[in-house]
Symmetry: C2
Subunit: 340 residues, 2 copies
């Protein structure tokens, strides 16, 4: 078998200080191997997941997974199509979810690959609601946040991929749900299309007043995607035994100096409350349950989502920035090949 | 019945910004009522508990209990002797624990009073190991920190009233225990007299290096009495699923500006860890259990403690400062009357 296709890859060229820029990435066009080894398969990547967590993966230092090495293909969740296989578990034409990185093609030994069905939902959904994004919302809210019917759930990054699902799942569970998002259009979207009870526009509103007005009974669960000042404001309004779920801190990821810690953390003492972090990978053995439940809610129209697709692997560096400047709606996905 | 004794009282004159000073307190000498109403009793306070929490009680604003009002007698835990009683539950000569405030005498209706026995332990112990101090250590460590045998427990304020008990209880539970304290004498005390495995002298050692050296397996439980930089250092060395118990933040109580939040709080995410606050009052229904267990450990010589007694109610303002400058060892108590 001869494979002649050229593989465009995005590699980490240098660790950024602050926002990633043109020196962070190197785009290479490399040949694919001409022959597959026994057990291997060739995947044509179709969609690449763009996630705030990527910013952390390119920092040096200990974290929940090793940093992407300088010169390595950038790590990314992906959905692709099997083009050729010498692995008995996969057949050409299969669609697979994996972590195949920001490249157009990948050779895999099958480890970490899962087959997905194209006819059930659009393929990018396996990166969003029925993928790590959905699982992050599901386990973070339900297992760490533990909302009870009638409680108030506040979500930041509420029009984002994870936040928008968190809010909808909290509504399904009978909570009052307030979202914080940037701009009037996102706020309209989460209230009118996703069914949040209220929205606070952090770009135009006074968040402190907004939280006070829209969480009149206080906050029982705060699902934090942003950190910084908004986390501090939330801490001033938590109820007794509140749970603060630390999912991310996108406002802080590109800091050039120290991260802003929550000055109001002693509210945890006053309110006998907890702040807890989690990593979705820890729930891997329950992904099946989450997938089934999220799929049912999706099919029943109980959850809604948007996918923002950017085309062209060469646009990875600029597309990624949309996570940080907020210029996207819902799940951000990079399409790196056509499915033909 | 005529009571003629003059009552010296310490009242809150003004809310301090930063450290309390001479303008914070007003010492008054007031007459006692000449007659007890039906149901009331007169207590002669003997010992007053001095606690870091007092600094919080004199701030304005929402907390776990209302602030002490300007002009009111300063709130304090106390042990005293019943001098006269028109309350059927108490008899002259009874010793009682209560929250009778920084004053030499108090008239009470009996609410919140508990009888204590002078012949079992010295009376100040009911403010320390067998009082709120002991209960704070017991419930904070065991219920919030949930240490397991073989785990590493790090304690700040380790030579203090609460911290010294936390470390000893953790040793009883089979943990490796490392304490952070100020000065060579306190460090010697917690290792040689209290049985801590190691001590870090924050006044003379590099705490970061000390934590690394003495917690080679990382930190499973961090019991925090101090906040600030030490909390941030601890966050860099926590293990997966670590528990950080927020008991206090004495390094921050006298800040004139914003409290320093923990910049490294995202370690909670990386390590799937939690930071949780608590207030001892929530465990009131289990005080009996804690008291029995602590009393047994005390009797068996498994826990040790020191009481630092300052005499004279007029010395309250200066005695209180010892909590913040570290110039005391163990439980700080103010003796306001002789037991005669």
């Amino acid at each position: 078998m001869i494979i002649t296709t050229k593989n465009t890859q995005v590699k980490l060229a240098a660790r950024p200080i602050g926002l990633p820029n043109e020196t962070t990435w190197r785009i290479e066009h490399n040949p694919l191997p001409t022959e597959l080894s026994e057990g291997d398969l060739l995947i044509k990547n179709l969609y690449i997941s763009l996630d705030p967590a990527m910013r952390g993966w390119i920092n040096a230092g200990r974290s929940y997974i090793p940093p992407v090495a300088i010169g390595a293909v950038m790590r990314a969740g992906s959905v692709g199509k099997v083009m050729a296989s010498k692995n008995p578990s996969f057949t050409a034409g299969d669609y697979v979810y994996g972590t195949e990185g920001v490249q157009q093609y990948a050779v895999s030994n099958g480890k970490g690959l899962f087959k997905v069905q194209k006819n059930l939902v659009p393929l990018p959904t396996y990166l969003g609601t029925l993928g790590m994004t959905g699982f992050t919302a599901y386990f973070g809210l339900l297992n760490i946040g533990q909302p009870k019917a009638g409680e108030t759930v506040l979500v930041s990054g509420a029009a984002g991929a994870v936040g928008s699902l968190v809010g909808q799942i909290a509504k399904i569970k009978g909570c009052r749900v307030v979202g914080i998002a940037g701009g009037a259009e996102k706020c309209r979207y989460i209230v009118e299309e996703l069914g949040f009870d209220a929205a606070i526009d952090y770009k135009n509103d006074d968040v402190r007043k907004g939280v006070k007005a829209h969480c009149p009974q206080g906050i029982d669960v705060y699902f934090d995607n942003v950190g910084g000042d908004i986390l501090d404001i939330a801490l001033t309004r938590i109820n007794l035994h509140a749970r603060i779920v630390i999912c991310g801190a996108i406002s802080q990821y590109n800091n050039k100096t120290t991260i802003k810690g929550p000055s109001n953390y002693l509210s945890l003492l006053v309110n006998r409350a907890r702040m807890e972090g989690f990593v979705v990978f820890d729930f891997a053995k329950d992904y099946g349950t989450a997938s089934l439940q999220l799929g049912q809610w999706l099919a029943a129209g109980k959850i809604n989502h948007k996918t923002h697709i950017v085309k062209g692997i060469e646009n990875f560096p600029t597309a990624l920035m949309r996570l940080f400047d907020g210029n996207k709606m819902g799940k951000l996905v990079l399409q790196v090949n056509d499915d033909d």
